[in-house]
């Protein structure tokens, strides 16, 4: 695995951890999504209780280049509430499945957040001034007796303590029969898609009362249903192109110019099954849990249960690179099926472009990161072909100390400092990770804590 030191290798250090300390996890605090905004200044998390918490990076001290700014709470709001579907006698969870930021156009920030059924556009704005000196009102809001007004003055804005307000600007509801798993904003910044298990809808950000259905894989007879949509994303540059992944391990690329309903794909990406690895669980572990385009749009990355695959959009019959995340679990699939862990949906992300501060920057999309069990997360360097396993744990919380690489021992003699597969804690899973778009700062979510790591600055 990636050793400490050596050339351009990033050395990761603990920076911050957010969230409750105690082991007793409140269900509502379980983090369900993590996303940096386009500048990286803001970091949003969504949780099972329907709340969104946004952290803001402090302005860096220009003189002191030893540490990047810390992230502090900027805004917290309740995005979604639990609802009840009376027709089916079932609850609709308020859990935030995904958050996606819009690029900033003015002073306010906008993000889309979604639960299983409803997408909301939130405006987050700052207020640091307020008008004072009204003629007809006192400062506390009470109306003045008009007969006491003898002179007129012009109200002026005076500074006040910063207040960050979040208000829902659009609510996109009632368009999904099944559970929404993805939202993706188009490169035109006017439209976005939302995908559930069987359908994908195209929305305009300004229009809430209708959406266009662009993919529908629901069979006429539900008994014939064998495959569902698991993730979808717009191409970063072509506003007519998007991809969606399935539970059978396929990715379909669709062009909206071809037809109104993109049921017929333009490209189908699928790797033939390796016959030597066949098992009862082959289909389940091939189910893709996340798909992410590279910044250029030339490549896309998919995550299935055991691996991360990089695909070249020009080659449909197999991925160009495959990285094994935790191959040692392959012999444990039956137990993981029994305890449902095999259905865990891990996400993956690319590194951003490192600012040209250091003499050896990492090119963008040269490193991929994804989570695993036991609060481990993994990174793969596509250029050096080296990988590293790190742990998100409060035990390592000394800032500026380099994280120690971890190793899982699959079988046989366990070396010192290695962990055996049977000792892994499958309750501690890292499903959500995010990489700052411009710097080597990563956000890693354990069950209810958010860890922020930075690279060691020399």
């Amino acid at each position: 695995f990636l050793g400490a030191g050596g050339g351009n290798d990033i050395q990761w250090c603990f920076s911050q951890v957010k969230g409750a300390v105690d082991d007793d996890v409140a269900e509502a605090d379980i983090i369900s999504t993590v996303e940096f905004n386009h500048s990286g200044e803001l970091l949003a998390t969504g949780d099972k209780g329907g709340r969104v918490v946004i952290f803001q990076q402090e302005q860096e001290n220009k003189t002191q280049s030893h540490s990047r700014g810390e992230y502090n709470v900027y805004s917290t709001f309740q995005s979604h509430e639990p609802e009840f579907d009376y027709l089916k006698s079932l609850e609709i969870e308020e859990k935030i499945n995904k958050i996606r930021w819009l690029p900033q156009k003015n002073a306010a920030q906008f993000l889309l957040s979604t639960n299983d059924k409803t997408i909301k556009l939130w405006k987050i704005s700052e207020r640091d001034k307020r008008p004072e000196g009204y003629n007809l009102k006192e400062e506390d809001g009470r109306y003045r007796d008009p007969t006491t007004v003898t002179t007129l003055r012009v109200p002026v804005f005076r500074p006040m303590d910063l207040m960050v307000e979040a208000s829902p600007r659009r609510i996109f509801a009632n368009a999904h029969t099944y559970h929404i798993n993805s939202i993706s904003i188009n490169s035109d910044y006017e439209t976005y898609l939302s995908a559930d298990d069987l359908r994908i809808n195209l929305w305009h950000l300004e229009i809430t009362d209708r959406s266009f259905n662009i993919v529908d894989i629901k069979p006429a007879n539900m008994e014939e249903l064998t495959e569902v949509i698991t993730a979808a994303e717009f191409h970063p540059n072509s506003c007519n192109t998007f991809v969606y992944s399935s539970s059978k391990g396929t990715i379909r690329l669709c062009d909206m110019r071809a037809s109104a309903l993109c049921d017929r794909h333009s490209k189908l990406f699928e790797e033939p099954e390796d016959p030597s690895n066949r098992s009862f669980f082959s289909e389940i572990i091939s189910s893709i849990s996340d798909v992410k385009f590279s910044h250029s749009g030339r490549y896309m990355m998919t995550r299935d249960y055991l691996s991360v695959k990089i695909w070249d959009l020009n080659m449909e019959n197999r991925p160009v690179e495959t990285y094994q995340v935790h191959e040692y679990l392959r012999s444990k699939l039956c137990s993981l099926y029994e305890n449902d862990c095999i259905f865990d949906k891990f996400e993956c992300c690319w590194n951003g472009s490192d600012r040209q501060r250091y003499f050896l920057p990492s090119p963008p999309c040269s490193i991929v990161m994804t989570g695993s069990y036991n609060n481990f997360f993994r990174m793969f360097d596509r250029n050096t072909k080296r990988d590293i396993t790190l742990e998100a744990s409060r035990e390592n919380n000394k800032p500026r100390t380099v994280l120690k690489p971890r190793k899982v021992c699959a079988s046989g003699k366990r070396k010192k400092d290695e962990i055996s597969v049977d000792s892994l804690d499958f309750n501690k899973k890292i499903l959500h990770t995010a990489w700052h778009p411009k710097e080597n700062i990563i956000a890693v979510a354990t069950t209810n804590n958010l860890y922020i790591f930075q690279d060691k600055m020399n």
Binding site: L90, E91, D116
Partner: protein
Amino acid sequence: MLGKGGKRKFDEHEDGLEGKVVSPTDGPSKVSYTLQRQTIFNISLMKLYNHRPLTEPSLQKTVLINNMLRRIQEELKQEGSLRPVFVTASQPADPLSDNFREAQPAFSHLASQPLLPTDFVSTTPLESCLTPASLLEDDTFCTSPTVQHDGPTKPPPPALQTVKDSFSSALDEIEELCPAPTSAEAVAAETAADDSKDHPSESNVQKPEGFPESRTAESKLMDSLPGNFEITTSTGFLTDLTLDDILFADIDTSMYDFDPCTSATGAASKMAPVSADELLKTLAPYSSQPVTPNQPFKMDLTELDHIMEVLVGS
């Protein structure tokens, strides 16, 4: 599921089934392959039917488990170890009544022995029987996005099974509370219960304990799979119910007719009034809802409503 923060230890039972899966054609490892397949099949059924979430279950998970079951069934079919014998699984227009039509033959096969495959004749093709139609329902309305039962937790049949069972168990308790006998039902139930107790081994979907004759076992397995998967589940997997409770279904289905106009059966009308609290107490142990570590136990209010309707009988 897993303890909070506790390291998970693998079941010793499971250990024997892990490891590389062998192809079914390997001679000596065929038994372990069959064993693994059997286990996975059972686990899959349990996942689909033992879970009563308050929120809609994940369609992806349901589809994947369903595919697993289908694949195993296909394999079994291809291995030719079963003959296509099933109870007729016609699509129910009225899911309630159909369950009971199917319930009786399915349960009666438990009481009789030995099991003869030729006792049942199937008129439906194998494929439609294999497809657990009850798992994945059609949209009933095109325009309304909310009417959709996905997965096995659609309220009527499983709730009905549970209601039947908890009701009949509750009936037991209530009868103890009040002296009015429901003689016909009680006697019939006892004889049926006796029969079933003599043949506990007929419950053939419980944990696999060695298969001396894998062929018979698998044919039994397939026989217990009518098109309606709920039957199988209720015999094997609702472990907090005794076989007695389930066999009450055989006795008098008029008791379970929830039409308020016709539910005034002899049994119901003879019962002494029971307070809702007492009923809740008697019902609590019979709910099949598993207690998950993170969620408190909750009574399904729709079940209670159904039961109360029947009890009130008007």
